[in-house]
Homo-oligomer: 341 residues x 2
């Protein structure tokens, strides 16, 4: 590396475009042009400027650029938490897709708190993000107003509800459960219970419960037992106790993590899965295939969802139009925690 803080810019603070212009003996407009790859710059001049930039170690100020262009080249994302492999995986893909298209990512977690989400939406607007990823379709009116008044382009991921009125990029949580219920019923289980994730303010959890109930009804059945639990193996272990004593012969879990807890409790009770009781999850975390027994579950395309969400946002921005939704498919993965009775 060469030494920084050469001549020019004798003052304090970072090197600016003006410093470069002075040093290269051109106008700031020209510097700006080479920076933005304008073709109307003589090669000779371009080179001079580039040298000046290297010499001075100039780093453009993207904030100022954003202000002048009125484009931030930034996407935002507000998710409930990063402590959930599905959201984390989705965000990883979202960020990669955004970056590959020259966009940065501003991220916030709402802790499943609608008021907090509204607050964060406002901040995202203040920060000038050009597109926003939100999770689910349940939110405060205030949030909707904010989104609408600012004409903020956004996608609501992890759900797909044509009636939602917001562009969804995700899958139909209720419908995904149909496949699972059909499978369990086909296997011959009849005393089917469910241990769901907390439904309050979480439309994905609600939809899954509703999907199970609806499909069960379609088969002329109803939930043998029902309970909710927080998102953790430990909580699930406790929460399933009551269901177990109800004599259920199958337990549909709101997600894989809950299923892990259920599996653990079931084993502790000396019941064998899937002979005595079936256990199914939702998400298909990487680990689920390696459990003993391997978990029958629903594969959720988290990576694809994050990527798609970014793409929909980016295309809408690019083409200066409204965001379109995109429906993703889930896929039933039959493994060893269910069996043909």
């Amino acid at each position: 590396m060469t030494d920084k803080r050469d001549n020019a810019n004798s003052g304090t603070g970072p090197v600016t475009q003006a410093d470069v212009a002075r040093f290269a003996n051109v106008s700031t407009a020209t510097v700006s042009r080479v920076l933005n790859g304008s073709s109307l710059v003589r090669p000779k001049v371009r080179e001079t400027v580039e040298q000046a930039i290297a010499q001075l170690g100039y780093v453009p100020n993207e904030g100022a650029r954003a202000l002048a262009r009125r484009r931030s080249n930034t996407l935002g994302a507000i998710i409930p938490t990063l402590n959930n492999a599905m959201f984390a995986a989705g965000m990883n893909a979202f960020e990669e897709e955004a970056r590959q298209n020259g966009y940065g990512l501003f991220i916030s977690v709402s802790n499943y708190d609608a008021a907090q989400e509204s607050f964060l939406i406002r901040q995202m607007i203040e920060r000038g993000v050009e597109g926003l990823l939100l999770v689910g379709n349940t939110r405060m009116d205030e949030a909707r107003d904010l989104l609408q008044q600012s004409a903020m382009r956004h996608v609501c991921a992890w759900a797909y509800d044509p009636a939602a009125g917001a562009p969804n990029v995700g899958f139909d949580n209720a419908k995904a459960m149909y496949d699972l219920v059909d499978h369990v019923v086909d296997c011959g289980y009849r005393k089917i219970a469910m241990l769901a994730a907390m439904q309050a303010g979480n439309d994905r959890a609600q939809q899954r419960v509703q999907g199970v109930r609806a499909r069960l009804a379609h088969h002329g059945l109803k939930l043998h037992a029902f309970a909710e639990t927080r998102y953790s193996v430990q909580w699930a272990k406790k929460a399933v106790v009551r269901i177990l004593s109800s004599g259920a012969d199958a337990i549909i879990c709101g997600n894989d993590v809950i299923a892990y807890g259920v599996l653990s409790s079931v084993k502790a009770k000396a019941l064998t899965v899937p002979r005595d009781i079936a256990v199914v999850g939702f998400d298909d975390l990487p680990l689920s295939a390696d459990l003993d027994p391997a978990l029958t579950t629903v594969r959720v395309p988290a990576h694809q969802m994050g990527q798609r969400a970014a793409l929909e946002l980016l295309n809408a921005i690019e083409e200066d139009r409204d965001v379109r939704g995109y429906q993703l498919e889930t896929h039933l993965v039959i493994r060893d925690s269910t069996m043909q009775l």
Copy 2:
């Protein structure tokens, strides 16, 4: 909600401070003052302005504010991936701490690619983040130069090496392994092997290997077998085969996910843990306590690390000084995958 797009701001684009000023019949300076809670504004005037703001549905432009104040109120983070529960948990805590202090978070993933990390560091500087979280101490000279020339405040998390020359917020990966090795040796295992995470460009993985080797030497032992594997249960299952056929009686894994794969392969070989062979992990993922057998591992304070990293950055910014490091402690968690022989 009241109707937006009232009178004033007849033009296009969002409502600006100037619109509010015009509407409230004051200067933009005054609007700015009420926005920033300046005490030198008459209550009466303040109220008028606040009403105008509400009326017009004005949302401040944080970008412009940042330009004028030369403070972005934004922190940045560049991590290898979000597809790792430890990083995700750390980022969750980092974001929360940042937000609680009025800072937003700009995030990027480098995919364990040093060149990519350098590129991203540059972007973070361009975006004007006031502090940056990086992972580990291994990076390109180019990255160091960038950091130094821009005088970017930063912390290198997930490691603690007093000799690193960069402010670390984390723990000593090598030393953490000492405890684990001591425990395994104390138990009576002697043919100790290691299945590490990929070391290339990953100083945390390297340190763990080195820690194991050093402590083994201290006990007059050496690695019975050694292999590396990618971060996934599946890869670990395959990678451990060779180690298993070496006749090792204990396997130290680079992290918990690897241990999961090892546990799975060991069982498939009809060996019983911990009687025939011990298996230990590193991280203490939430699931590790619920495995069968429950995994002996090292608890890594990911949440605390993220929070601390944010705090150190924030304090340094606040007090306008260099970032200080902070050493966190790991904790050996003895469970059922090791036993006194």
